[in-house]
């Protein structure tokens, strides 16, 4: 039997009366790194917020490690081991880098060990800036910080909303490498949203394609090797 970390079953989400997501089914097994791709405005961020619990679905269930968490608020879900890295990073600008990292510790507070020290091993640049206000570090560093913050609590599932957005290509590459390394070394399951082709192909073991609020198709490892086919899904 495989361990299903996350399963969405028939999820509908609306903003007011406008439906954003319709009948989403997906599931992720332990240790997998799964991508969700799609163009701007197709509902990728909404999907992430629905998983962490910042948005509530109008229909369907969210199951996390065998438990129905549909009615749990975000803070309860986070404590079950979900590490969320939002689009645009959302670091706490007036807290120091170190305080930001420590904020992540309440994720998986059932585990004895947190990974604050490991975070600084992965991101030595954060170590240098420990005492600095998070609002004053560069965009790339803020992205590292957002990852480090989620990682500090030793999560079972990392939810990653557009890691490449608004970041220099060189740093995108480094961050992509870091995520791959962490998933391997820590055995953390990763669900990420992305429209950068390279990042998707580098990270994802398989990938869901969203358009118009629905899952259009699912791409396996072999599909992902065909760069042109993947690019077609992202074309306008």
């Amino acid at each position: 039997m495989t361990d299903t970390v996350l399963a969405l079953d028939g999820i509908d989400v609306s903003y007011g009366s406008t439906p954003i997501l319709r009948n989403i089914d997906l599931s992720i097994e332990a240790g997998e790194t799964v991508g969700i791709m799609g163009r701007n405005g197709v509902g990728k961020t909404t999907l992430m917020k629905t998983v962490i619990g910042l948005l509530s679905p109008t229909e369907g269930t969210v199951t996390y490690q065998g438990e129905d968490v549909t009615d749990l608020p975000a803070n309860r879900r986070a404590r079950l081991g979900m590490g969320y890295i939002p689009q645009g990073r959302d670091v706490f600008p007036d807290l120091t880098v170190h305080q930001n990292v420590r904020m992540g510790r309440s994720i998986s507070d059932h585990k004895s060990e947190n990974l604050v020290d490991r975070v600084y091993e992965y991101f030595p640049r954060l170590d240098e800036r420990r005492g600095q206000k998070a609002g004053t570090v560069s965009g790339g560093e803020q992205q590292m910080l957002a990852i480090g913050r989620a990682l500090a609590g030793n999560p079972d599932l990392l939810l990653f909303d557009e890691p490449s957005e608004g970041i220099q290509p060189s740093i995108v590459q480094q961050i992509t490498a870091d995520i791959g390394r962490m998933s391997e070394e820590l055995g953390v399951t990763v669900l990420f949203v992305e429209q950068n082709l390279r990042v998707i192909r580098e990270l994802a073991e398989r990938c869901y394609v969203i358009d118009n609020g629905r899952i259009e198709t699912e791409l396996g490892a072999t599909d992902l090797e065909d760069e042109e086919a993947v690019a077609n899904y992202l074309a306008v």
């Binding site: 309860r76 986070a78 969320y84 939002p86 706490f92 807290l95 305080q99 904020m103 507070d109 609590g153």
Partner: protein
Amino acid sequence: MTALLPQVLNLLLQFLDSFGFLILSAVGLAIIFGMMGVINLAHGEFITVGAYGTALSYHAGLPLVAAMVVGVATTTVFGLILEFTVVRRLYGRLLDSMVATWGISLIMIQGLRVVFGSSLDSIGTPLGNIQYGTFSYSTYRLLLAGASLALLGALYWMFTATEFGTRARATIQDEEMSRALGVDTNRMYLLTFGIGSALAGLTGALYAPTMTIVPGMGSTFLVEAFVTVVVGGASVLVGTTGAGVLLGAINALFSNLFGTFAGRMALLVTTILIIRILPQGITGLLNQIREEEA
């Protein structure tokens, strides 16, 4: 020289007195406003509850300090109940929160009048006075100024050095992200409102021995509280402290030279000027300076 020294002392004591009153009046309001975007127009009545709790338990035979603890505890419990029943529904709804808390304030003033009558027996000011030159000054009022400084120190420690403080600040800065990191923001707001209430209660408890204890006594704190918060801006600690220093100095100087009325005018004129020149208050000014340096 001998005539000058007492005058300087006068000014200094006046400043401390004014500073203490501004800070203690404002701090509970500032925390609730700064953290939750709720303007608590019943803030003055929270202070009244603190004073009533103190006076009633003092007259029931408790020593003054214990009576003050009761006053603070009463206000805290009262604040928590109110948060749970009313205020919780008003987060982020500035105008609604003002109307609702104003209503609460009116109910409380009349409620206290109905239950306890038009006034309570006063508590005499303890600790005697100190003499200097031809002047003398109440020792207890010095203690009040000291208490305001200690309180600012304690709040600074709480906000910067404790886990709770970090989470509270994170919640102000990005509520959604805080929730996504496992912070129970509802509980955070409840606690914050509780702390704001406790501080209002403390103000009432501390000033109870210096004032006539009547249902409407809170209004005298409300003006100072609002002026301080407006001049200070959103930052609870830096803004409030800065406003306390600035307004306290201006009030002390003008009151001392030209009388209470002039002091009050100067206070309000300064506030109007600050709103005009620095809409974000002292907090805004400091942010500006910081950005220019960076």
